[in-house]
Amino acid sequence: MSSSELLVKIRDLQIDGIADETRSRIINNVDLDLHRGEVLGLIGESGAGKSTLGLAAMGFTRDGCEIVGGSVEFDGIDLVGATPDVRRQLLGKRIAYVAQSAAASFNPAHKIINQHAEAPLFHGMSSRAEAEADAIDLYSRLRLPNPDEIGFRYPHQVSGGQLQRAMTAMAMSCRPDLIIFDEPTTALDVTTQIEVLVAIREIVEQFQTAAIYITHDLAVVAQMADRVKVLLRGDEVEEADTRTMLQSPREEYTKSLWAVRSFERPQKPLAAKTATPVISLRNVTAAYGNNDPVVRDVSFDIHEGRTVAVVGESGSGKSTTARCITGLLPPRTGEIAFQNQVLPADYRNRSVEQLRQVQMIYQMADTALNPRKKIGEIIGRPVEFYLGLKGAEKRRRVEKLLEQIELEPSEFINRLPSELSGGQKQRIGIARALAAEPKFIICDEVTSALDQLVAEGILKLLTNLQEEMKLSYMLITHDLSTVKAIADEVVVMKDGRIVEAGPKDEMFTPPHHEYTDLLLSSVPEMDPDWLDELLKQRGADNLGDAAVSKM
């Protein structure tokens, strides 16, 4: 390996974003070096310019972005000044791209293998038969099930983790010198994430491909990258090899990123056996239409002032359980009780008082807030509906709520949601739920769309509010570090059933149910050797879907 040979050389790169006639700097004088066969991790929060920089290494900018200064060289070829033809000859052939969501980045109209063979055919690298044979070979190297057959399916017929591996195979189709991985596992469940990580790492090692690995997840980058570069709002914060960066970060910002994972509220003592639970689910089974149930015989209690985390992978029935509690989806059998009073199954039959007690905070604050209403109106509406306050009283109440969520009322009350950051929007979502003065709030993946620092702020706010108002939370999440941070009890769901339930401290100490064990052990840790150790322990064939289906 001639590791000294420089493959990508970016110098003093400046990229502007142009929206509504105004320019803003997205990448600010960044340098980047990448040698052959090396993996560079790019980390930072959303808006840090990671993807923009990664794409710029391909000589590509998205619509609305423009390279205004600096240079990008790939193997001695100037990509900024190159003609579109020159760039097209490199793209797909010598530089390939793996996108965040394989489900969205595979064309739904064509079979996977046709999309795989497209680049080699178009660039004149091989015949169709050769390209297809190679695709099947890559599929089996990446341990996709039925490698001979899977490529002849359409993307929607293949699961998310498998598609992501198929996309990695597609990037390999021309044996490029460089692959840009743009958050390739962010959209996946933890157990699926591992198999994709292993696949990417193996294939990159086998073919000595250089890679830029973009992610906001530090633990993932610790497994994947030789060196790490930290970005903040378009500026480089620091760069070092992975171990140095993890052990002794120089800059304050990097240290703060590292510190996020340490937030943890101690578990509260168990509720007394005689206490009345705020919410209890009793043998709830629910289904959509006439299909098979997606929630089967689920029972658990949530007590005053406590947080119950419901964890599980996508499709395990977490959100459906929440829909049953709110009355949006009346359960097929079973019942839901509020302080031992059985609630009507359908929200339309519940009284305003009953509706008031159960509130919800949503995952995507972006879509959960009406973009045409001002913050004051968004929060004011439940204040008026549930508490009957009007005029000056209503305004005072809204101002009080804004103070509770740590936003200055005079500054925010007349703003539109579009004028807020992601974290601020999520705070408004919390205020809207609080406006009803409920006893119980369902938090549906409230932090999963947020950066880690911002997410930590939200979790702290939720904890404080719980202390003040004796609130009970049901926390739906697939992120076990969030569970560690604020839960008191944990309910683990799989295929609509509860596989394990108990106090948090017990859940995080062995022995576990084997599924809980799989979930826990699949969460990447900051230790760069974690993935190797895990592979040694479990073996490459016992990861992700394969491991789940063995249960």
Partner: protein, 332 residues
């Protein structure tokens, strides 16, 4: 495929139901037209006895629901009744109205065949043309070509049909006589002559329908250009043409097919003006004439044929949209 069969049979059922409701509406609407055939024929000075006699002869004195069911039963057997205008002569001849004179079906069938011929020729020109222009406009969006394509198609759709028709006659029949300005085709003609005679009305209609289809093609494609799979295609180094044709177009087919179906339906049902200008013997003219003389069976039959054309074309569009989408065609 089971899934698709299910969707299609559901749509078919709905189509039949729609046809039934349309038949009720047609019957009600036609019967609410002021005046009736007897009065229209005999004029204002007719004696009430004479009017009553003709009404009895044609069955117009029966209650309207009886007439509706008589008509419906006939229609289900493809018997659209007898044209009043033709039946009338028989009543003068002293025989009953149901004598063996030309039925409505006999009257409409050749006209409808002509209408389909004109629509077919137009579609054969207009659909490939507008798809091509639409794809090219999407490919070279905001270029001179795109602008000219937009402006010219919009101009032709904004001009009245008869105006477009006369401009074409002036250019292609008078100034440089390529095509005849009269399109009086009949059964005895061979295909080539028929085609030549049909060309001017077909070109007129092409100019009228192209804008809509072309602009939908362009918009549906451009709408997809921001999708991640298009970015992926660009990052594979593919040529812009291949990206549009291979990656964007297949996913844009559903809205395009629907607009094409709407325009084809228009070609069958909405071409009266063009038929009049070119003296083309289509259903449109027959329809207008029949309304003028209150020839109710013909009017009803025409309406029904138009409705059937609309419904079946939309049904076809639905089915093709489903077939063009692998996610609907092959469920998980």
């Amino acid at each position: 495929m089971n899934n698709v069969a299910m969707i299609i049979s559901k749509r078919l059922g709905l189509g039949v139901l729609t046809m039934f409701m349309v038949s009720v509406i047609i019957f009600l609407a036609v019967n609410m037209l002021p005046g009736d055939f007897a009065q229209a024929l005999l004029g204002q000075s007719a004696t009430p006895e004479a009017v009553a006699a003709i009404r009895k002869d044609l069955g117009l004195d029966k209650p309207f629901y009886t007439r509706y069911f008589d008509w419906l039963v006939g229609v289900l057997q493809f018997d659209f009744g007898t044209s009043f205008a033709k039946a009338n002569f028989s009543s003068y001849g002293g025989t009953s109205a149901a004598a063996n004179f030309g039925t409505v079906a006999d009257q409409i069938a050749p006209r409808f065949a002509n209408t389909l011929f004109l629509a077919g020729v137009t579609a054969a020109i207009a659909v490939p043309l507008s798809l091509t222009i639409g794809v090219l406009a999407a490919l070279y969006r905001y270029s001179i070509f795109d602008r000219i394509a937009n402006i010219s198609t919009l101009t032709s759709i904004s001009s009245p049909e008869f105006f477009v028709a006369y401009v074409l006659i002036l250019l292609l029949a008078v100034l440089s006589p390529v095509f005849p300005s009269l399109s009086n085709i009949h059964d005895g003609m061979d295909f080539a002559t028929k085609l030549q005679k049909t060309m001017l009305p077909a070109l007129t209609l092409t100019l009228v329908v192209t804008a809509h289809m072309m602009r939908m093609t362009r918009a549906a494609i451009i709408n997809l250009l921001a999708s991640p799979y298009i970015e992926m295609a660009r990052l594979k180094g593919l040529s812009p043409f291949r990206i549009i044709v291979f990656h964007a177009l297949p996913n844009a087919l559903a809205p395009i097919i629907n607009v094409i179906a709407l325009n084809l339906a228009y070609l069958i049902t909405g071409v009266v003006v063009v038929e009049v200008v070119f003296v083309y013997p289509g259903v449109g003219q027959l329809f207008v004439d029949s309304v003028k003389i209150r020839d109710i069976p013909v009017v009803q039959a025409c309406c029904l044929v138009f409705a059937a054309a609309y419904i079946s074309l939309n049904l076809l569009a639905d089915v093709m949209s489903i077939l063009s989408n692998p996610r609907l065609r092959l469920p998980k």
